[in-house]
């Protein structure tokens, strides 16, 4: 294709757009390292010398933690939930930052658009809620509690137990990981469609088609703003669901 810019075989975007080469150091892993480093340095730096009247940075750190503690942990588990607030705040800020890489210039891709990272995060949540449930109730009592809905008639149990097992212990971690991955994946794809599509239109020889690229680039800007909302929402939702699963595992028989 001849034109202003040669975009090679990048058009149309597809799963190959997420391929950053083989080997264990790729752009994706470097972005994850950056995210971890930024978070550690940021929280250490802001909490090293806390003031009663918070500075701007301290205010940001405190509102992130306060949001995870009051908005998520306490909402689901009451006072008991405060002990999970550090994990939830870490989870929230890590996912938020890695998601935001999707629209930060030069990063331009969220590591969460690769299934591996959401899968590990979901596995941590999965192991955590199963472990907490077993530790609190014991192995048999925990599975009895989570597999048999209270008040269910005995003749329905052969149907209910496999269904509950499927939804709680198989679909929960899968959908938890797939939700974050699919949103980041689709977001990256949408941005590629509109930006690369704009370039392809601009490469066209007809002036009329060329002018349509303005609409495509405008759409890319709108979609970037939309992605910003989705990224924040997905970070919130992942943390929310983790808290919900833990609270379900710890809930008394009701």
């Amino acid at each position: 294709m001849n034109g202003f810019w040669d975009i090679g075989d990048h058009w149309p975007p597809g799963t190959h757009s997420f391929d950053y080469g083989v080997g264990w150091v790729t752009k994706i892993t470097v972005l994850v390292w950056i995210a971890v480093a930024v978070l550690i340095v940021f929280f250490l730096a802001t909490y090293r010398n806390p003031k009663i009247v918070p500075t701007k940075k301290q205010w940001i750190a405190e509102s992130i933690y306060g949001f995870a503690r009051d908005g998520i942990a306490k909402d689901f588990m009451g006072k008991d939930g405060v002990r999970f607030a550090p994990y939830l705040a870490t989870l929230f800020s890590f996912i938020l930052l890695t998601n935001l890489f999707g629209i930060i210039p030069f990063a331009q891709i969220s590591p969460n658009a690769h299934m591996a990272f959401p899968a590990v995060l979901a596995a941590i949540s999965y192991v955590m809620f199963v472990y907490l449930g077993i530790r609190k109730f014991g192995f048999i009592a925990y599975f009895k509690k989570s597999l048999i809905p209270p008040g269910a008639p005995v003749w329905l149990l052969p149907l209910l137990i496999p269904l509950e097992f499927f939804s709680t212990f198989i679909m929960r971690p899968i959908t938890l990981a797939a939700r974050l991955w699919a949103n980041m994946f689709a977001g990256h794809l949408i941005l590629l469609v509109f930006t690369l599509g704009g370039v392809v239109l601009l490469n066209s020889s007809s002036f009329l088609v060329k002018s349509v690229s303005v609409a495509s680039f405008a759409m890319a800007i709108v979609m970037t703003l939309f992605e910003f909302i989705v990224q924040i929402l997905q970070a919130y939702v992942f943390t929310l669901l983790t808290a919900f699963f833990v609270s379900e595992a710890l809930a008394e028989e009701h």
């Binding site: 799963t15 908005g71 998520i72 909402d75 689901f76 679909m171 959908t175 797939a178 939700r179 991955w181 699919a182 949103n183 994946f185 689709a186 929402l233 919130y236 939702v237 929310l240 669901l241 919900f244």
Partner: protein, 76 residues
């Protein structure tokens, strides 16, 4: 018999479209219920917001599985 028209591509994309119908309706119901409850009792907005998001993401799961499987089973 000669072929008059042919459709090329992956059938799983159509499956994704079909899979998105249910969640589309469901997400609409979730938000409609939230708006209605907030209109009837504005003070409860903060109380029910968490559960709105919870319902929204659980309903949305099928559409996301459809998206994932559309790419898993794509041709070539």
């Amino acid at each position: 018999m000669s072929t008059l028209a042919a459709v090329d591509g992956s059938l799983s994309s159509i499956g994704y479209g079909l899979g998105a119908i249910g969640p589309g309706i469901g997400v609409g119901i979730v938000f409609a219920a939230y708006i209605q409850s907030t209109a009837r009792q504005p003070e409860s907005a903060g109380l029910t917001r968490t559960y709105m998001f919870l319902g929204f993401v659980l309903v949305e799961a099928l559409a996301l599985l459809g998206l994932a499987l559309a790419f898993v089973f794509q041709k070539g």
